[in-house]
């Protein structure tokens, strides 16, 4: 095995599970995630990793088994996408409430209807209130690293909450990129073995998932989870420092790009960030003080870090690859909330929505966003700007016309 391999995001996810020496992989196929479980099934079959992979009849069952196995003491890895995540949605809240520190990879895909295969983030963001830590990958290396980081943070006794690591379908899942695979020794040093909290036991029986039937008890436990989630922020910082020492790769919950003197800043996450960064570089060449903030961690929401990075900027745009129908961009609202109490908050905060169902965003479109930041008077404040090019609209109209729809 070479130290750097060309591999897809899906393969990188499988590698992370293998390196983490997971015990149990409950599975259910769904495009574009399926390659992950196929790869793991193959490795287990060939004796390359010692784990049990069981294919379920649905994601709801798969996630139930993932949670109970984790409570029983197994390190659990699972993966899903879009419709699958939503089909199993009920169990997300159960898993976090059970304090089962498993890792779930979501390969983003737009949610039907209309039915589609390519990515946006409505699927993963629907889980934002569920008590899962959320880490979002920009590239295939991130996929591998963030999964390892997720295990370390989730299993930490100060946190004990599950994680979702998100990668974009197609743009990462099926795209081959160079990925550095850390050695077993390095992963062993970074990730201590999982020690479950009071697992089921014949001589010391335990009750898990009991009802509370009182608002006070319910609030008590929910607040407890909230505090653990907030604590995850520090634990992630601590873990990423250790990870960087071991691998030389830094992973911050919020990453700045050309921020030092930036006046116009774009906030975004996931794979399109790579194109956003290219746009920043091009604008810099033209002398525009552009910069970018990449959100890696969506939960716990890094509000304080964001406020720190965005204060004193002239104008900020939030790029949402999701759409809360009737509201607009989900992350825009969250960023706005994070900035409200910052006295030196930017005067202009623009919401931009694009990339729904995997619709490509060109570098020019990102440049256009920076152009709007320089001339915010061109748009209505607070109203989201939809990225939809004229040629794309013409193509849609043509498709409809060709099919003979009147």
């Amino acid at each position: 095995m070479r130290e750097v391999e060309m591999m897809t995001g899906n393969t990188a996810a499988a590698w992370a599970a293998r390196l983490a020496d997971v015990d149990y992989i409950p599975a259910f196929p769904i495009t574009p995630q399926t390659e992950i479980i196929e790869t793991l099934a193959k490795w287990i079959g060939e004796g390359l990793m010692k784990a049990k992979l069981v294919q379920f009849e649905s994601e709801h069952s798969m996630l139930t088994a993932a949670g109970t196995a984790s409570l029983a003491g197994a390190r659990v890895f699972t993966a899903s996408s879009s419709q699958g995540l939503l089909y199993g949605f009920e169990m997300l809240y159960s898993i976090s409430g059970w304090r089962a520190p498993l890792v779930l990879v979501n390969v983003s895909r737009g949610v039907a209807a209309p039915l589609t295969l390519e990515p946006d983030h409505n699927d993963v963001l629907s889980a934002r209130d569920s008590g899962f830590i959320q880490l979002h990958a920009e590239n295939c290396q991130d996929v591998l690293d963030l999964i390892l980081l997720a295990y370390r943070v989730s299993e930490d006794k100060r946190v004990r909450l599950p994680s979702i690591v998100n990668m974009d379908g197609f743009y990462l899942s099926f795209t081959r990129e160079p990925v550095r695979i850390p050695s077993k020794e390095i992963v062993g040093e970074f990730l201590p073995p999982y020690t479950p909290t009071l697992p089921f036991c014949p001589s010391r029986p335990v009750v898990k998932g009991a009802s509370v039937l009182s608002g006070s008890l319910y609030t008590y436990f929910k607040h407890n989870m909230h505090e653990s989630m907030i604590r995850a922020s520090e634990v992630i910082d601590e873990a990423s420092r250790h990870f960087e020492e071991l691998t030389g790769r830094p992973h911050k919950p919020v990453e700045g790009f050309y921020l030092d003197d930036a006046e116009y800043v774009l906030v975004m996450s996931n794979s399109f960030t790579t194109i956003g960064k290219k746009a920043v570089l091009r604008l810099r060449e033209k002398g525009v003080p552009a910069g970018l903030v990449k959100l890696v961690m969506l939960r716990p929401f890094p509000a304080a870090q964001l406020a720190r990075l965005l204060k004193n900027r002239r104008a900020v745009a939030v790029f949402d690859q999701n759409l809360s129908l009737g509201l607009g961009g989900i992350i825009y609202s969250e960023v706005a909330g994070a900035l409200y109490n910052e006295r030196k908050r930017p005067e202009t905060l623009i919401s931009v929505i694009g990339g729904l169902g995997g619709k490509y965003i060109t570098m020019e479109e990102f440049e256009y966003i920076f152009n709007l930041l320089q001339h915010p008077e061109k748009i209505e404040p607070g109203k989201p700007v939809f990225l939809f090019r004229k040629d794309e609209l013409r193509a849609v109209e043509n498709t409809i016309k060709l099919a003979g729809v009147v």
Partner: protein, 314 residues
């Protein structure tokens, strides 16, 4: 049949795993079944539960149980059982726990979960050959939410969602799903019906099931006084009548081969059973619904005629 340690009621193990102090109703058949079931199963187990009345055995921070418990969700208790079984297996295989720490895994749900919302998950678990027990307390409706029709509700039953009216004097017009046959079509090693009036029969069945690896089902007749409109002191008598009128056949199937463990010599008329419960009152008051009662009786007769013919052939 083979040797058994259960010959009379005196052989019921003294060990208790379900202690007094649960919040369930007086006369709850389901709770009675669970108590006896655990005596034969032993305490080295984990009960994996789905939403239902007996979920409320455990209301934080109390439990009347002396064994492990996992509440999952309404639809997926068998999958929850699979997760625990698989985890124990792989952890033992990897040497992370010892075989001494192993547990029997028991899915424990009502009929709403077993016949309706969780049937899909059960089917998957059986098809994967999961080594688990599934105990269904069948009170023939969604009792926990106030007694609405379920897939287990028998024909002509009055429930909160099938109340007899002048337009429809019958009550529930559908038929009870045959869960025994649904499971049997998957050919699991062991399935049985049990009743709290026939305790020795129940204990022997659990004893037999203990020998098999794979999915093992017990469908327990579970009178529910508030839902059925029966007296709390009548639970065992109603159960006895259900067996003697042939409403609730006691049987088992080993790898699909059915055997009745009790064949009534003469069937008591079903009326005797129906009259013990308010949920069938509309069949007798204000007017006797002769046709409906006859249909119920004929269905029972036909069932037992087939059983007798088969027995004769053998």
């Amino acid at each position: 049949m083979s040797e058994t340690r259960y010959k009379t009621l005196r052989d019921v193990p003294a060990e208790e795993y379900l202690l007094p102090g649960s919040p369930e109703c007086a006369g709850c058949g389901a709770q009675l079944v669970l108590r006896i079931f655990l005596k034969a199963l032993g305490g080295d187990a984990v009960l994996v539960n789905a939403a239902g009345c007996l979920t409320l055995l455990n209301v934080y921070p109390y439990t009347p149980l002396k064994l492990n418990w996992m509440y999952t969700a309404f639809a997926s208790a068998p999958a929850g059982a699979q997760g625990i079984r698989d985890a124990l297996d792989i952890l033992i295989e990897k040497g992370k726990i010892t075989p001494k720490e192993d547990l029997k895994v028991v899915t424990f749900t009502g009929d709403g979960a077993a016949y309706d919302i969780g049937l899909h998950a059960a089917s998957g678990a059986i098809a994967r050959g999961l080594d688990f027990y599934y105990l269904v307390y069948d009170n023939e409706a969604y009792s926990n939410t106030g007694f609405q029709t379920s897939g287990a509700t028998p024909f002509a039953t009055s429930t909160k969602t099938s109340q007899p009216t002048t337009l429809n004097p019958i009550g529930h017009e559908g038929v009870k799903k045959d869960l025994f046959e649904i499971w049997r079509s998957h050919k699991p090693p062991y399935i049985a019906t049990i009743a709290p009036s026939h305790i020795v029969d129940m204990l022997r069945k659990i004893e037999r099931a203990l020998k098999y690896r794979g999915p093992k089902l017990f469908i327990a007749f579970s009178p529910c006084p508030p839902g059925w409109g029966s007296d709390t002191s009548e639970t065992v008598r109603i159960s006895k009548l259900a067996v003697e009128t042939g409403v609730w056949p006691l049987k088992e199937a080993i790898y699909g081969e059915v055997r009745h463990t009790f064949i009534p010599k003469v069937l008591k008329p079903v009326e005797e059973y129906l009259k013990t419960q308010e949920r069938y009152k509309h069949l007798f008051h204000p007017r006797r619904q002769e046709k409906v009662i006859k249909t119920i009786q004929e269905n029972i007769n036909q069932y037992w005629q087939k059983v007798r013919e088969k027995e004769k052939l053998e």
